[in-house]
Subunit: 149 residues, 2 copies
Amino acid sequence: MRFSAGYFMEAAVEEALRAESEGSVPVGAVAVADNKIIAAAGNEVIRTSDPTAHAEILVIRRACAFFGSPVVEQCDIYVTLEPCPMCLEAIFLSRVRRLYFGARDTKRTRLEKSDDPGNRSFAGTEIIGGIMETRCGDILRNFFAKRRE
Amino acid sequence: MRFSAGYFMEAAVEEALRAESEGSVPVGAVAVADNKIIAAAGNEVIRTSDPTAHAEILVIRRACAFFGSPVVEQCDIYVTLEPCPMCLEAIFLSRVRRLYFGARDTKRTRLEKSDDPGNRSFAGTEIIGGIMETRCGDILRNFFAKRRE
């Protein structure tokens, strides 16, 4: 059977919740090739003191290691939050086929308002936003609400 | 004695040449804190099959590991080429104090023409371009000229 985008986003949500349980910001991602999850990651910035350890960067690095190539055109990435510019460029550099993201980054929503062509220099990647948007966003909102308590 | 920007850029050039000798694109970077080089890296994309293994990403990760923190406001980064959007955002995320770069990216020159505020969301970083520009650029031009032969 073919799995739906919601199925894979649910797996990304599980990675986000795992990241939270380890003290990190709850963002998760999975990489999918040929209808299978071949890599998964949650944010590890705080735990590993690495500012580049966003879920997307980690899942791309793991997917590339899986295929032994810096280019993974056969992969789709599912991530619970709209990628930041660092992760977006990494997605383009690795030539991911499709990017599915959940919650929108309401501070930037770069992907929907940007007309900066420099930001789409490797624009083979198709982008589909708002998958399970409320569920993905609630996890982050709850996390930051708890931190403010 | 205080070392000059040229001294540290020369160290970044050595990293670029080492990367080239290992079959990678010749871009190099060093991180400097308190007048000392505390981390160095060359591009490792091809050698490690990691599309995120740009010199800047690696040197930031190493500098953060050195200090045990995802934020290194005490660090300056020297890199032989104007950073791509991925590396630029990583520099902002890590709150590097100053970014010195060598050659300009003539395809984009984002840093000098961009007025996109999203790109400077962590704009504590001061940016100084064109340090040893010809030397840094020649290394890249020679590398790509040889690849076309």
